[in-house]
């Protein structure tokens, strides 16, 4: 399966297993979503389980809060992460705090799915990575898969979770892993071991990172598309790095991170989002606090630039092999 099929499979299974799961979003019903993640699900599960919504992110998330309070498990889709902002107050002030402010009388068990990230010439309104807006909010969980296998297992766990989850789907790798060498042809998922996805139900618990590649030279912390880019660059440079795919930014698997950095003594953080106040800043602070006496070099951060995502200069913006390569050199200098 590619990542779209894996997500579709997870949604299908959860619609089947739990009559309280409903899907809604712009164009997700009859048409199956602009990325086709919900294709065929309305036909199979009916119009009151899978339906289109008005173009109103505030309405979509606000209604999902009410549905969650009723006892449903809504899985709203926001067509692009860039459009989550009109609904953000309902996420930050409402969904995130409902459990707390009602002393657990009401909960918000929604999973907001949204494609995010760049690399598809989406311009500044179809490319953003707003994950750190959400990790900064008490009460939200943020999940980002990097493979079809993980996408299915993590999405199932997210839907089963009783807290509101932001599930960001790296759209650059919906159809195949991306190595960052943008002028080379991209392999489809079918050539990748993580595209072998069981048809049946399985879950991957939130809050557990995955060691993608073991190594001794340094630790790479990455998620989403950047896991694949980092891996390709590490292999290109022939360095023995340990690569950790965080999978869940919150709750974060601090143990795996700490153990790895203490072992390697060096840490490289890679994400696509803009640099300032990005999630890399949080990771860097945590590593510094917890592994300072094990560090042999300053922590390196490779990120997008602090500009809106440019259209024609997309590949100059993207934290690709050159930027990562330079960081690796700096990290290993002495």
């Amino acid at each position: 399966m590619n990542m779209i099929e894996a997500i579709n499979s997870a949604l299908d299974i959860m619609l089947e297993r739990d009559p309280n799961v409903i899907l809604m979003g712009e164009d997700i019903g009859y048409f199956g979503g602009v990325f086709r993640c919900t294709a065929g699900l309305q036909e199979k599960h009916g119009k009151t389980r899978v339906f289109d919504t008005p173009i109103s992110e505030c309405g979509i998330i606000g209604a999902a809060v009410g549905m969650g309070a009723y006892g449903l498990r809504p899985v709203p889709e926001i067509q692009f992460a860039d459009y989550i902002y009109p609904g953000i107050d309902q996420l930050i002030s409402e969904a995130a705090r409902l459990r707390y402010r009602s002393a657990a009388e009401f909960i918000s068990p929604m999973t907001v799915r949204s494609p995010f990230g760049g690399g598809i010439f989406g311009g500044q309104t179809h490319s953003q990575s707003p994950e750190s807006l959400f990790t900064h909010v008490a009460g939200l969980k943020t999940v980002i898969p990097s493979t079809p296998y993980d996408a299915k297992g993590l999405l199932i766990a997210s839907i089963e979770d009783n807290d509101p989850v932001i599930f960001f789907e790296p759209k650059r790798i919906y159809n195949g892993p991306f190595d960052g060498f943008y002028d080379q042809p991209v392999q489809p998922w079918s050539k990748h071991p993580d595209s072998v996805v069981p048809e049946d139900y399985y879950r991957i618990d939130l809050g557990k990172a995955k060691i993608v590649r073991e190594g001794e030279a340094f630790t790479v912390l990455a998620y989403g598309t950047m896991v694949h880019v980092a891996k390709a660059v590490v292999e290109h440079h022939g360095v023995d790095a340990e690569i950790i795919d965080l999978r869940t930014l919150l709750p974060l698997d601090i143990e795996t991170i700490e153990e790895s950095v203490k072992k390697t003594g060096r840490c490289l953080i890679v994400h696509e989002a803009t640099r300032t106040s990005g999630f890399g800043a949080e990771l860097s602070a945590l590593v510094q606090e917890r592994c300072f006496y094990h560090l042999e070099a300053p922590i390196e951060r490779v990120t997008g630039f602090d500009t809106p995502y440019p259209h024609s200069l997309e590949w100059a913006y993207f934290p690709g092999p050159i930027r990562i390569g330079e960081a690796i050199e700096t990290l290993l200098k002495d």
Partner: protein, 430 residues
């Protein structure tokens, strides 16, 4: 306009009149005499009562009318008279009077420093109490902060309300919410948000969920006229109309949003009920100080929702007879006479006169009731004070601060909870 520069803007074409910006201004400011003769108050009983299946199109004139049942003599007249039995009317009166007694006492408690904040709903009691009477007790309500009347009408214990207001160790919301931001799942009363209008799309979502599940319960929500300017209001109206959601959208037009008069939410151009027309929704404009009209309108809208005929937007035309909250001084921005001169009177008084006119009530019984209610409230506050008042140490255990952020405590909150415990041990050694 005096507040505009009369020199034309450089670059403005000299052969065209300069454009001017209109900034709404209320009719009266402090010191002004109040004259309400321009407020169009149609006679009670004259408004048609459409069949609950009427199309929004066919009833579109109603959004400019004002549904009224009680006339100037306290008689119930016209097709909207819900014809309630005297004992129900007395119960309704008693609940409204209890809300007022509660407000009076808790307002004073704030002034005495027992809590940080309070908000009264004086003058608006009918819009929550009588609406609650017309709903089923398990219909879900998504209130704003002036609907304490719904909780009271649903029999929520006064002591629980005071515990919440005092944020004390008895507060079942664990001292996390601003006073009056109640929540009771048992009473189908959703948790109140401080972010205006957010409850609107949530109520619609709940109603949609009820419809998805083939349930029979409907939802109702309230916001102020000022809050109708929030995007959430319009998202909710769109969703309600699109999915024909079984929901009642109440707008309490109490004329003021803190110091901003209703003109800043668009009242100079049209009514708030008229917002319904554009969405293809049924809309009613109702005398909010007329207990029977409020009951009748809610009953009509509830029946409509319950029979799958869709949502209704109800504007209650009323007046906020006191300040916005304990932090507000309304004499700084509005004429002192506005409240006194309000042409629709006081909702409790009007229902009382109706009952007296029916021969079911008298001044003595009313006075006795008021005294009994004041004592009930006093007893409840005394009881709650045993659990502590705000800032006097009888609060929730510290570790509750970290609970309910998530279903389970993640490592970072565990660490922070331990830190709070260490700080506590240093700050308050036993």
């Amino acid at each position: 306009m005096a507040d505009q520069d009369d020199k034309p803007m450089a670059g403005a074409k000299p052969n065209l009149p300069p454009l001017s910006l209109h900034v709404p201004e209320p009719q009266f400011r402090p010191g002004d005499d109040v004259d309400y003769s321009n407020v169009d108050i149609p006679p009670a009983g004259k408004q048609p009562r459409p069949d609950i299946g009427a199309t929004p199109y066919d009833m579109r004139e109603m959004v400019y009318d004002l549904v009224r049942v009680l006339d100037d003599d306290g008689k119930a007249v016209g097709p909207w008279d819900p014809k309630l039995k005297p004992d129900v009317l007395i119960k309704m009166l008693e609940n409204m009077a209890l809300v007022r007694a509660f407000d009076e006492r808790l307002f004073r408690a704030q002034r005495q420093g027992k809590t940080s904040f309070y908000m009264k709903c004086r003058g608006e009691e009918a819009t929550s109490v009588c609406a609650a009477f017309a709903l089923a007790s398990d219909d879900m309500v998504f209130p704003s902060y002036r609907q304490q009347g719904v909780l009271i009408a649903r029999g929520y214990p006064l002591v629980e309300m005071v515990n919440q207001i005092y944020s004390n160790k008895g507060d079942k919301l664990k001292g996390r919410q601003l006073p009056i931001m109640y929540c009771s799942r048992e009473h189908s009363f959703f948790t109140i948000s401080g972010n205006l209008a957010t409850q609107y799309p949530q109520a619609v979502g709940w109603a949609m969920a009820s419809a998805i599940k083939g349930d029979t319960r409907i939802a109702a929500t309230w916001c102020g006229e000022g809050s109708t300017a929030e995007g959430d209001f319009h998202s909710a109206a769109t969703f309600a109309a699109v999915y024909n959601a079984p929901v009642i959208l109440n707008v309490i037009n109490n004329q003021w949003a803190i110091s901003s008069f209703s003109g800043f939410a668009g009242a100079e151009r049209t009514t708030f009920a008229a917002r319904a027309t554009g969405y293809g929704m049924a809309g009613l404009r109702v005398d909010g100080n007329d207990a029977l009209a409020v009951y009748a309108a809610t009953q009509w809208a509830a029946e409509r929702a319950r029979t799958n005929q869709g949502p209704t937007l109800i504007e209650y035309f009323t007046y906020r007879a006191e300040g916005h909250s304990t932090s507000d001084d309304p004499s700084a921005y509005r004429s002192a006479d506005e409240s006194k001169e309000w042409p629709l009177g006081d909702p409790i008084n009007r229902l009382k006169q109706h009952l007296i006119q029916l021969g079911e009530w008298d001044e003595d019984r009313h006075a006795a009731m008021d005294e009994r209610l004041a004592n009930d409230v006093k007893a409840a506050t005394k009881e709650a004070e045993k659990n502590g008042i705000l800032g006097h140490g009888l609060h929730q255990p510290f570790e509750t601060m970290f609970q309910d952020v998530f279903e389970e405590l993640p490592w970072h909150l565990k660490e922070q909870s331990e830190q709070a415990a260490r700080e506590r041990a240093k700050k308050w050694p036993e």
